[in-house]
């Protein structure tokens, strides 16, 4: 039976205009809410039409299948934002993580400037996906308002710090990494990174160039000369990051800034470690996007490559070229092989267009 606690006398009463216990008027919104709740209870949900779970025939009730318990698919599991032929972003949950903690934002201003932000939520923290989402949104807002990358980082850090956190015995405060670029139509590029998202420049000859330096344990070992790059990469601590956004970040931390002149046919790639772990060298990145016809295809190729290689982490890539009107395919010599990540499925990229007619003419 539909019941309601009367706000006047705190007694339970049946739904109606008046409280049965004290006779006072019952507020219409309380009655409405109670009716909705009861209808919802009958239908097994919050009043909404339950969504069928095709795998088992059950229905999703507040996000979970009422029969097999599966989680209702999250739109964040796979996101694509294809702004134009020269600016696109793709993000995927991957195969081994239960949620997508990466976040990106991209935008092109009216005067043709391309902006991209990638933040990777730190898994060992509370609500990393909230930290990364808020940070990426805040950074883009600052950039679009004319702020520089330092200001964008500051805003991203503030946003991550603002995510609610109740001290947890095992998990740290909400944290994410930061990376962003500003690419002007004239090819002037500024990149800022803090953490282990990376920026690459892919040239028309099919070679790649690294634009960023990781804030990671492995990088610190290499810089200190205690290990070779290879040894450091193989170490269990390799992927531990040394800088991040969030309430336990340090005020003095600033993103590493790099400026570069991007050629008309160069491609800028900004990606999370879930992508570059499967294409660690700049030339590997170049190989993966070889033959793609626009930014969207290139971003998708990078994420698909990570998924085919095992998809062990969330994978996010933003791809940009200086001008939205620039010619299409990045140019590289034929015959470059796609690096095989360990454990990769064979022919992982047969779905990628490699039409020779798209090969460069010079």
């Amino acid at each position: 039976m539909a019941l309601l606690t009367c706000p006047h006398c705190s007694q339970e009463t049946a739904l109606g205009r008046f409280c049965e216990a004290c006779g006072e008027d019952l507020p219409a919104e309380l009655v409405g809410a109670a009716e909705a709740r009861d209808t919802g209870a009958d239908a097994g949900g919050e009043g909404a039409q339950p969504v069928l779970h095709e795998d088992c025939g059950g229905h999703f009730v507040d996000g979970w299948c009422d029969t097999c318990g599966s989680k209702q698919p999250d739109p964040r599991d796979h996101l694509e934002e294809l702004l134009d032929a020269a600016l696109a972003a793709v993000s995927d949950r991957g195969h081994r993580h239960h949620r997508n903690e990466d976040a990106f934002t991209v935008a092109r201003s009216e005067d043709g400037v391309a902006y991209g932000v990638v933040c990777d939520g730190v898994s060992s923290t509370v609500s990393p996906e909230v930290a990364s989402t808020h940070a990426a949104a805040a950074a883009l807002d600052v950039l679009l308002a004319g702020g520089d990358l330092i200001a964008a980082h500051r805003a991203a850090d503030d946003a991550a710090r603002a995510v609610p956190y109740t001290p947890h015995p095992e998990l740290d405060a909400p944290s994410a990494t930061f990376s962003a670029f500003v690419l002007r139509p004239d090819g002037h590029l500024t990149v800022g990174t803090l953490g282990d998202c990376r920026a690459y420049l892919v040239h028309p000859d099919g070679t790649g160039e690294s634009l960023s330096v990781d804030d990671s344990w492995a990088q610190a070992q290499v810089e200190a000369g205690t290990m070779s790059a290879e040894e450091a990469r193989a170490h269990p601590n390799a992927s531990v990051i040394t800088r991040w956004l969030g309430r336990d970040s340090i005020d003095a931390w600033e993103p590493r800034l790099v400026e570069a002149a991007v050629g008309e046919e160069d491609v800028v790639v900004l990606c999370s470690d879930g992508v570059w772990n499967y294409a660690p060298e700049p030339n590997d990145i170049a190989s993966v996007i070889k033959g793609t016809s626009d930014a969207g295809e290139a971003a998708l190729a990078l994420v698909d490559h990570a998924l085919a290689g095992g998809g062990h982490d969330n994978a996010t890539a933003v791809v940009a070229r200086p001008s939205a009107d620039a010619p299409t395919a990045p140019h590289e010599p034929a015959g470059t092989t796609i690096p095989e990540p360990s454990g990769a499925a064979p022919d992982a990229h047969t779905d990628q267009p490699t039409d020779p007619s798209e090969e460069p003419d010079a």
């Binding site: 979970w64 299948c65 009422d66 318990g69 599966s70 991957g94 081994r96 095992e170």
Partner: protein
């Protein structure tokens, strides 16, 4: 009415496994109040077997305690009194039928009859419960009983009690009290367990009145009856156990009843406003793939057929051992409290059987667990039974001369737990 559920768990499950543990804290808000129209029925059952006259002070205290309790029953609450020996006698109402609403007249009549209780005969507790069952029959609402005895259930075969408990189950809730040291802890624990009540010891007859009063106060504070903890688990899963773990340990697993829609209902007994209980739920769900996330259980408190709180227990499969090997502090704490109760009961049983070596090990383990978890009440009771050399390692010696009352008190209260304290690691 506001109830809340808070879930504590490590939701990360290793590849190939499907066992999920969670502690669910259910709290009734202060606004949880009894509906004005709810009928309350209260039955006090007092042992009047021959042993109650040995010494005479025992029956005298029982009479006084019962009369005093009757005088405290508020107007309108229906009540009855049962005197029990090898058979039961409904001493109030005098016609032996339905409990009567309390008022000045009925209270005075009942108190007068309580003061005339005469001990004689043996002890057949099933007959007492059967009498209570007949009185409660046909009365819906809050049916609560209080059963006080000083001895062993020796005048009937054990099966009588077992069968009567099945008949009573679900009709009323019953607290049990043992007075003195001649009763059997396990016997009263079984009755309380089956009838969703609590067992406790009343060391001296003089303490009966106070205990009666305390019971009455708690009974009158109960706001909602017909409450169950409903556990939904997905297709193909098994509910391994459902235990209440605070304020005391009570394994509810054998009480589960199919409530349809993949849900099992575990009766919890009545709740008061502001009350808080913790439950340890363990389910085994079909193992998922790495990266998959599933709902392993919904733990809902259900009052009169309506779900009033919803706790979600999740499972996320990962190959990251740093995540899967973490034990939730609440789960660890209550797993320890359950081990503590078991160690005490096994230690006392070993001592009774003359196995001092096992008793020393078990009680030593109990001291260590109680000390570590900050369960000071249990540490204090343990210290009456063993000499503690080092609580950190659980090094103890059995005391040579232990009062039987102390052992029984330790046994009875072995299931009392504490919540996670700053001291607990």
């Amino acid at each position: 009415m506001s109830f809340t559920a808070t879930v504590h768990q490590n939701e990360y499950v290793p590849e190939g496994s499907g066992e999920v543990h969670a502690i669910v804290t259910v709290e009734a808000g202060a606004d949880v109040q009894a509906a004005a129209a709810m009928e309350r029925n209260l039955i006090l059952i007092c042992d009047t077997s021959g042993s109650m006259s040995n010494p005479m002070s025992k029956i005298m205290a029982a009479r006084q305690a019962m009369a005093a309790a009757v005088n405290e029953i508020p107007d309108g609450v229906r009540f009855a009194l049962i005197a029990g020996d090898h058979e039961a006698e409904v001493i109030f109402p005098t016609n032996g039928h339905d409990p009567l609403p309390a008022d000045a007249t009925t209270r005075a009549a009942a108190a007068g009859l309580a003061l005339q209780l005469e001990p004689s005969g043996g002890t057949a507790i099933s007959t007492w419960l059967a009498a209570a069952r007949e009185l409660f029959q046909g009365h819906e609402g809050m049916n609560l009983a209080y059963l006080l005895t000083d001895g062993k259930n020796e005048s009937e075969p054990e099966s009588n009690l077992v069968e009567e408990l099945v008949r009573c189950s679900g009709l009323f809730q019953c607290d049990t009290r043992g007075v003195g040291d001649a009763w059997v802890v396990e016997e009263l624990r079984r009755i309380s367990h089956a009838l969703l009540g609590e067992v406790d010891i009343v060391r001296e007859p003089e303490a009966m009145a106070e205990d009666f009063q305390a019971f009455l106060k708690r009974a009158l504070g109960k706001a909602v009856a017909n409450v169950s903890l409903n556990v939904w688990a997905p297709v193909g899963s098994t509910i391994k156990f459902v235990k209440q773990v605070a304020p005391n340990i009570e394994d509810l697993s054998d009480r589960g009843a199919d409530a349809g829609k993949l849900t099992t209902a575990f009766p919890t007994g009545a709740w008061s406003g502001g009350e808080s209980r913790d439950y340890h739920v363990c389910v085994t769900v079909p193992a998922g793939a790495v990266g998959e996330e599933k709902l392993a259980a919904r733990v809902r408190l259900n009052v009169d057929g309506e779900d009033v709180s919803n706790g979600l227990v999740r499972a996320i499969w990962t190959d990251d051992t740093a995540l899967t090997t973490r034990i939730d502090p609440q789960v660890a704490h209550y797993t320890g409290q359950a081990e503590l109760a078991q160690a005490i009961q096994e230690g006392l049983a070993a001592r009774k059987a003359g196995d001092e070596a096992t008793a020393t090990v078990k009680l030593g383990k109990a001291v260590k667990l109680a000390h570590e978890s900050g369960n000071d009440g249990t540490v204090r009771l343990l210290k009456k039974v063993v000499e503690v050399e080092d609580p950190n390692t659980g090094t103890v010696r059995l005391k040579k001369n232990v009062e039987k009352l102390d052992e029984m008190e330790l046994d009875t209260r072995s299931t009392r737990t504490v919540r996670v304290s700053a001291k607990g690691s």
